[in-house]
């Protein structure tokens, strides 16, 4: 993720104050997010559903 994209996403998330005061931390977080998301394989089937399963009427 380049600096421009990082800044754009950080501002969109409302992290202006963190960008001004802790820019290195925001950059480190953005890099970590990009790195970790790339390590997940695509699910084997387009029909693979997420966890936890949707169960109407439970846990409310």
């Amino acid at each position: 993720m380049d600096e421009e994209a990082m800044e754009l996403l950080a501002r969109r998330a409302g992290l202006d104050k963190a960008l001004a005061e802790y820019r290195d931390d925001v950059r480190a977080a953005a890099m970590q997010a990009a790195d970790v998301a790339a390590k997940i394989k695509a699910p084997a089937s387009p029909a693979a559903e997420p966890w936890p399963p949707m169960r109407a009427g439970r846990g409310l």
Binding site: E21, A29, V36, A37, K39, K41, A48, E49, P52
Partner: protein
């Protein structure tokens, strides 16, 4: 006679019931030990000595007339400081929540008290159970009683340090990416992450809704089973609570492992994240011991640790961002640097990343379930290295992710971490056993067989 501070939960409860020891004497002994050792260990954030002594006196008055509230009557406990205890601050070890007084006990604390336990105080954690060990917070990080220059693991750092050092015989921890099992591994005690949903999380400050677990931390497997028996049970007001009845966790404790099938997930520590030679040797020793005790050990293959870790991180950080986003926007300077760096990645994931991680998660659950149809229990590494020095951030950064605990937060299976041996430097090495959903009894059975064969429950840190 055993020093009061080394009494196990089971021994203490028995002695108090038979009036051989009073809860007052035990509580006072633990408070004295805390005044002596805690300045070096930093296990406590809040020590509530007077309330503990008052509760101990009540317990003794009841014991004197033959009344026993439950199996933990008169036994002291420490509580991780993201769990509410009525009247005490729940700080999350963070400036953000300083002075945040809880108005009610968390369900897990309520259950411990109903069983007779005495709350001693609130314990150090990594900030909000994610950012640590940190030196830029209002309280110092906990230290490892085996060597106070070393990290006690986290995030339930004070729980691990205090149980191992004899400050209390049991503690509550929480585990979202391994935070009960990491300090259990680093401090040489027994830490269980139960099946997801078995123990209520109501009254516990959340880190990640679909990964958070509350778990018991003790010095022995028997105590862990006893404590789980008190904690387990359905809570209709916790949306993640499983509609299950508590099991008989101690039922199979001393049955041994003859005939049990143990699946050894070797690739975790052999190829995914090659373990330190001492850890590798300790795991081989556990394997051979279980074989000698009659277990059949097979090799099992699961998805890689790298992918389990990535799925865990995307889910954890996305869910944590939804909790911490408002504070990170307004008060970024009130977090320590590590928490800030570990909580902000959630701002950079897209919805697609989160859903993809949850879809892969379901596939990973299916793979672990398939493995657990072939064997009765899984065995694998917990930490790939002995605990590193706490004052070397590069070592902490390098060793922290070198672990095999997150897979079972992703899948929700019960997993226990415990002592597997000591390094040449005298620091704990660890092993992990993993079971089928709600089959904690078999996990305890295997863990107890290893504990009995190796005498791991008799090993205490040399701190005095």
């Amino acid at each position: 006679m055993t020093d009061l501070h080394w009494l196990t939960v089971t021994e203490a409860a028995d002695k108090i019931a038979r009036q051989e020891v009073t809860a007052t004497a035990l509580t006072q002994a633990l408070l004295d030990r805390a005044s002596k050792l805690d300045p070096r260990l930093n296990a406590y954030i809040t020590l509530d000595g007077q309330a503990a002594m008052d509760a101990a006196e009540d317990a003794d008055r009841e014991a004197a007339v033959g009344r026993r509230r439950g199996p933990l009557h008169g036994v002291p406990v420490g509580i991780k400081d993201i769990i509410d205890v009525a009247g005490l601050a729940t700080t999350g070890h963070s400036k953000i929540l300083q002075g945040n007084i809880a108005t009610a006990d968390a369900v897990c604390v309520e259950k411990l008290r109903a069983a007779g336990a005495i709350v001693l105080g609130k314990l150090s954690t990594h900030e909000f159970a994610i950012g640590g060990p940190s030196f830029d917070l209002p309280w110092p990080p906990a230290r490892n009683p085996w060597n106070t220059d070393h990290h006690p693991g986290g995030s339930s750092s004070g729980s691990g340090s205090g149980v191992a050092a004899g400050l209390f015989p049991m503690a509550l921890g929480t585990d979202t990416g391994g935070s009960v099992r990491n300090p259990a591994s680093a401090c040489g005690i027994v830490g269980l992450k139960p099946t997801y949903g078995l123990v209520s999380r109501r009254g516990v400050f959340p880190l990640s809704f679909t990964l958070d677990h509350v778990g018991p931390m003790t010095r022995t497997v028997t105590d862990n089973a006893l404590m789980l028996g008190v904690l387990a049970g359905h809570d209709p007001l916790d949306p993640g609570s499983a509609p299950s009845l508590p099991g008989h966790y101690a039922a199979a404790l001393d049955r041994g492992v003859k005939g049990l099938r143990v699946g050894f997930v070797r690739h975790f520590h052999e190829t995914d994240m090659p373990a330190a030679p001492e850890v590798d040797a300790a795991l081989t020793h556990v394997e051979r011991t279980l074989q000698m005790e009659g277990a059949e050990v097979r090799t099992i293959r699961l998805p890689t640790l790298t992918e389990f870790g990535a799925v865990n991180r995307v889910i954890l950080q996305s869910e944590a961002w939804s909790i911490h986003g408002p504070w990170l926007r307004e008060r970024p300077g009130d977090y320590g640097q590590l928490a800030r760096r570990r909580l902000m990645p959630g701002a950079f994931f897209g919805a697609g990343d989160y859903v993809k991680a949850q879809r892969r998660r379901r596939e990973m659950i299916a793979e672990v379930e398939a493995a657990l149809r072939e064997v009765d229990v899984l065995m694998c590494a917990s930490s790939m290295d002995p605990p590193c020095r706490i004052d070397r951030p590069a070592d902490v950064e390098r060793t922290y992710p070198r672990q095999a605990r997150t897979p079972f937060n992703v899948t929700g299976h019960p997993a226990i971490a415990m002592l597997a041996g000591l390094s040449v430097e005298g620091l704990p090495l660890s092993v992990q056993f993993v079971g089928r959903y709600f089959d904690e009894a078999t996990v305890f059975q295997v863990a107890r067989a290893w504990e009995r064969a190796a005498g791991t429950d008799k090993k205490h840190p040399p701190i005095v």
